[in-house]
């Protein structure tokens, strides 16, 4: 049953692509999450409303639809609009970029909620005290709120990563050569779908297992110096 007929290396190459697209998306999700949380907690109505629309739309739509919309729909829409205005624009994202951007956009909405919760968990008194000492808003953010928010957000971000890495399987639909697409190719060519999809699932299991170990280490490190209640 486990005769891979030479497709083993191809699946492993797919695994590294899965991790690459997952990490890129996670970096983008974290950046978007920070910006989103800032907007949600902002005094500006426009920023709050924009952030609210962003999280509402993203969390209400299946990833698959968002992926198809972003990969096929948005470039066509932008080109149609641009040609109406008399311009020619080529929006060209390859599957890697489209996959990373889409997943980043989706999980940025989740990261927004995680960071918002983390910022809210920091006592206001700390910011006020820092400002009383004459620190600028920027320095308050860098020295006081951000480091603490990161620590509080860590478990939440870990969850986002776990969901995100599994969602990378979807990017196979837009033909990025990650594990799932490699498994599909092998299953189609060898007519042994069970073998290859099972192997693909084990690769994902390996990634999630290692991730949870890393997460535990990171949390331990982030909590050094914090009294354990």
């Amino acid at each position: 049953m486990f005769d891979l007929q030479g497709y083993g290396p191809s699946l492993l190459a797919g695994a590294s692509m899965t991790i690459a697209v997952g990490l890129s998306a996670m970096v983008m999700a974290c950046i978007l999450g920070l910006v989103g949380a800032w907007a949600k907690l902002s005094a500006s109505y426009t920023a709050r409303a924009t952030a609210a629309v962003y999280t509402t739309v993203i969390r209400g739509t299946p990833e698959l639809i968002l992926l198809l919309l972003l990969y096929y729909g948005v470039p066509t829409l932008v080109q149609d609009l641009a040609s109406l205005a008399g311009y020619e624009i080529i929006l060209n994202f390859n599957p890697f970029l489209a996959g990373a951007v889409t997943l980043g956009l989706i999980y940025g909405a989740f990261a927004t909620e995680v960071f918002r919760g983390a910022f809210e968990a920091i006592p206001r008194g700390q910011t006020e005290a820092a400002q009383a000492l004459g620190m600028s808003r920027f320095r308050v953010a860098v020295h006081i709120t951000l480091p603490q928010a990161m620590r509080i957000a860590l478990p939440g971000l870990g969850n986002v990563w776990m969901i995100l890495i599994k969602a990378t399987a979807l990017v196979s639909i837009i033909q990025l050569d990650e594990v799932m697409r490699k498994a599909k190719i092998a299953a189609g060519a060898t007519h042994q779908p069970f073998t290859f999809y099972l192997l693909a699932s084990f690769i994902f299991l390996g990634i999630t297992l290692i991730s949870s170990l890393v997460q535990r280490q990171l949390e331990k490190k982030a909590h050094r110096g914090v009294g354990q209640a």
Binding site: T61, V74, A169
Partner: protein
Amino acid sequence: MNFTTMLEYLPQMLDGAWLSLQITGLSLFLGFLLAIPVSLMRLSHLAALRLPAQLYMFYFRGTPLLVQLFLIYYGSGQFRHELEQIGLWAFFRDAWFCAVFALTLNACAYTAEIFRGAILAVPKSDIQAGKAFGMSGLLLFRRIIFPKALRIALPSYGNEVIFLLQASSLVSIITLMDLTGVASRLVAKTFAVYEIYILTAAIYIAITYMLVVIFKLFERILNKHLRTDS
């Protein structure tokens, strides 16, 4: 951009949405029922009960639903003869069954994890009070632990419901004509890519936030006695 012609396709898409809701609803219901014993097994002190539950939950929470669907749908085809011999092929032959089966197993694993957390979060004092009244075993679980755990679990369970509704869009990939399936067929026919997918997204968003409202109401009813405001 032509959204008016989209109205023509709306009935077809609503048919698809109905199938999405059916599959989601049925999988949630079955997953919920199964999650009760699974979460109890997971919390058991007996390794023979705990380990299988742990392994099952680890696998289904650690791998993508897309892989699980493909494994169950296309993978079962590899064992057609074996499945025929034990009389199960009639089920696996059907894409609808495979979809509900995969979604149920997936939902059950996540729900069991939510239940596990909720059962552990039931205050010790509640259980002691129950015991003081002479309750034990199933009675204690049915009257004290389970109702309390359910209330604790509700917000996370609401998220799981929404997660599964959105995940059900994947069944389109195993030939089912759910909302996403209908949408991608229409796109292939009309090439009106963004019009159709934006409409599809709008329908999903509408269903999702209907569910959110329902859960908020439900939560308020269940926690009525806890409200402190007048």
